[in-house]
């Protein structure tokens, strides 16, 4: 027998498999897309994200979105880059807002201009939905690359009970560095040389440290980086030197701030346990403080030395490069839905971040929420003076050159001026290849 029964069976199976390969099942079913999302703060964000995506899938039968948890902001960047390299990028990612420029330089982002144009809206109309402070991190070379999803600014948190006890009025929070120094001195408690309560704590761990340095430098009139061009940072400047010197003075001269580098969770725990009377921390921690503080607290603007100004933080939705057209379209539908006023407002209430879509604050649920939690308003009000988050070529290493030097200063190992000179030198070295290709590439 030429064709045995077994051979026939084998051929049949092979045929089916070939057919399955040639005609993928997705041709008929809904477009399947993945959304990478990080959980950068404490809380039940992963569950909230599940709820959000379930609702999207129920209301959009043509698309089947899956939310994939990808760790911290940094991990999310790693995993996104790995998937792009493997040729299977996710359709959309919630990406730390200051990574966008770096990704755009590496050709890893989809330019969203054509998708916006295809909807019949102009770029100005589209961007006009969001707070102006957020646009700097979403627009690169006049093209839109990201849609703001959840954002934050740094805030001054005050233990109101301890302030009253020290004879200070928590309803008139410190507005300048001089006032803050004075408050911190009055709030610090000592037993001999030993400090039993710190007046103020400012976090310094990788990521947070750079953000706080940008905050202090901006309130001192300065800028951290060139907002228009990714090849320059301004570390060795009077404004940053003043900022770092003041921070160091709080530790070494006034002895009202814990020495060394203290990470964010340690700062918030200190504040919650009454061990630090004031702290500077992200609005993202507001829900955590609200749920855990057993005392009356106040939030206020970051005090100024020269001007009121803060950087934004948080994340934007992006579409990676190299995606099929149908997936790109489905991702765009998902992104527009997630950043709509209603969903934006819902996410803001669940997480503590503020909603980037201005219309979110006009929804009835949000008006109701703000009247019950007036502290959530401070972050939104501070947006009037907010500016973009630093973003350069190789953002993370460039930021780290500064952070390593700041940590040396806070540990009493270096003076601010020499630390900033060293940081500037290291950062310039890292930025060299990019500058060689852009600002220093001459005709």
């Amino acid at each position: 027998m030429l064709f045995s029964r077994r051979l026939m069976l084998g051929l049949a199976i092979a045929g089916t498999m070939a057919g399955a390969l040639a005609f993928p099942a997705q041709a008929e079913g809904p477009t399947e897309i993945d959304l990478f999302f990080p959980v950068p703060v404490d809380g039940k964000l992963a569950r909230d994200m599940g709820t959000l995506i379930k609702e999207f899938n129920e209301t959009h039968p043509a698309i089947k979105a899956t939310a994939v948890y990808t760790g911290s902001y940094d991990d999310t960047l790693i995993k996104t880059r790995a998937s792009i390299k493997a040729g299977k990028p996710p359709a959309a990612v919630i990406m730390s807002a200051n990574f966008l420029l770096d990704m755009q330089i590496e050709n890893e982002l989809t330019n969203l201009d054509s998708l916006i144009a295809a909807d019949g809206t102009s770029k100005d109309q589209f961007l006009g939905q969001f707070f102006p402070a957020l646009q700097g991190n979403a627009v690169i070379s006049r093209s839109v690359y990201g849609v703001p999803f959840h954002n934050s600014t740094p805030l001054l948190y005050i233990n109101a009970d301890q302030a009253k006890e020290a004879g200070l009025d928590p309803n008139k929070p410190p507005q300048t560095w001089a006032e803050l120094t004075d408050w911190a001195k009055k709030l610090t408690k000592r037993e001999g040389d030993k400090v039993t309560r710190w007046g103020i704590a400012i976090p310094c761990a990788y990521d947070y440290c750079g953000w706080m340095m940008e905050t202090l430098t901006m309130t001192n009139g300065g800028r951290y980086y060139n907002e228009e061009f990714g090849g320059e940072v301004y570390y060795d400047t009077p404004s940053m030197q003043g900022a770092l010197t003041w921070w160091n003075d709080l530790i070494a001269k006034h002895k009202v701030h814990p020495p060394g580098a203290t990470p964010g969770p340690a700062v918030s725990t200190s504040f919650i346990s009454g061990n630090a009377a004031m702290m500077m921390l992200s609005t993202g921690s507001l829900t955590y403080v609200r749920d855990n503080a057993k005392f009356a607290y106040k939030v206020a603007f970051i005090p100024r030395n020269v001007r009121n100004a803060v950087p934004i933080g948080g994340a934007s939705l992006i579409i990676p490069a190299g995606l099929e057209a149908d997936k790109q379209k489905a991702a765009w539908t998902l992104i527009k839905w997630m950043t709509s006023p209603e969903k934006s407002a819902w996410w803001s209430r669940a997480t503590g971040y503020f909603a980037p879509n201005m219309a979110a604050y006009k929804t009835p649920d949000m008006v109701d929420f703000l009247s019950k939690n007036p502290d959530a308003k401070t972050a939104v009000e501070q947006l009037d003076v907010a500016k973009p988050w630093f973003a350069t070529y190789k953002t993370v290493p460039v930021r780290k050159t500064l952070e390593d030097e700041v940590m040396l200063v806070l540990n009493g190992k270096k003076q601010p001026k020499e630390a900033l000179v060293a940081a500037q030198k290291a950062a310039d070295e890292l930025l060299k290849p990019y500058n060689a290709e852009t600002a220093l590439k001459l005709p």
Partner: protein, 316 residues
């Protein structure tokens, strides 16, 4: 003597030497073919996930981009030179040496102490052994998350109890002079129980009659330890030392969770440096070069320890 032997001799001598080798090779291959076939599945996976990856690292280490938009080009040993010239790398190597010595010696000493104290099996020692082994069962990432709270400045468990005795509360993970030692404490706590297991097993192999004889000859406990137990445990020491050194290079979970190599690179270890180059600097060439250097050092170390082990076995 049998009759078969002389008849067999001329046959082998009549074949030319070249054919002889070929034939021996083919018969040899035929004989071991089933063995190769049985090994094939593992060889395929080893090639895919171990040798393949190593080959890729070797290739990646030789290429680099000049500017962000430029294509990668062959640069030879430039990447390795750049890594060796990087003060962050040499700093990480120094940190790693301190870390390896400072974790291996105390954890092995503790493990030996535990094993000697708990070598007899009864209800009490079983409970104590289980308690000492418990840290091994906790994943490093989870343990690090626990220690994050123990090390919290001012309010953590450690400062809460020790703080009463010290004039100034140390910032365990935030002070660049202390952070590496804080990281080392976790490693010792985590690994001592694991090494204890090997020493317990080693102690079982100490011959009972020799011990008894020594006892009868009037050898005290210290003399028995010095002249019988420790020499018998030598292979165990060697093995545990290799494991402890490898751990010092390959385990960086706690660095990742607790300090991210900071403050100011004070806790940066070699593996974490590689991670930083690959992920934060997005510099695959430099990361691969650093990987190659580490791999070479580890292979040298392993070869050395295997030779020492082989020498010992040969001599014994």
């Amino acid at each position: 003597m049998s009759l078969a032997e002389p008849t067999a001799l001329p046959v082998t001598t009549s074949v030319s030497p070249r054919l002889h080798i070929l034939k021996r090779f083919t018969t040899g291959f035929k004989a071991s073919l089933p063995a190769y076939l049985l090994l094939l599945p593992s060889l395929v996976f080893l090639a895919l996930f171990t040798y393949g990856a190593m080959g890729r690292v070797l290739i990646d280490a030789l290429y680099q981009r000049a500017t962000p938009k430029a294509p990668v080009r062959f640069v030879g040993l430039d990447n390795i030179g750049a890594v060796l010239a990087d003060s962050a790398f040499t700093g990480a190597v120094v940190n790693n040496l301190i870390y390896a010595v400072g974790t291996a010696i105390p954890s092995i000493a503790l493990a030996l102490l535990f094993a000697l104290a708990l070598s007899r099996t009864n209800a009490v020692t079983s409970v104590l052994r289980a308690a000492l082994f418990l840290p091994v069962l906790i994943p490093m990432v989870a343990a690090s998350a626990l220690f994050l709270f123990i090390f919290l400045p001012n309010v953590g468990l450690l400062d809460y109890y020790i703080g009463r005795l010290l004039p100034v509360l140390p910032n365990w993970l935030g002070d660049s002079d202390i952070a590496l030692y804080a990281i080392m404490i976790i490693t010792i706590w985590k690994n001592a129980g694991y090494y204890m297991l090997f020493f317990l097993a080693g102690l079982q192999a100490v011959p009972e009659d020799v011990m008894e004889a020594a006892h009868l000859d009037g050898a005290g406990p210290f003399q028995r330890l010095r002249h019988i137990i420790l020499p018998e445990l030598k292979p165990t020491f060697l093995f545990v030392t290799v494991i402890a050194t490898l751990n010092a290079v390959t385990q960086v979970d706690h660095v990742f969770v607790l300090t991210q190599g900071g403050p100011s690179n004070a806790t940066n270890l070699v593996l974490f440096y590689i991670y930083q180059q690959a992920v934060e600097h997005y510099d695959i060439g430099k990361a691969s070069a650093a990987t190659l250097l580490t791999l070479a050092a580890l292979m040298g170390l392993t070869a050395l320890s295997f030779r020492t082990m082989a020498n010992r076995e040969g001599g014994a």
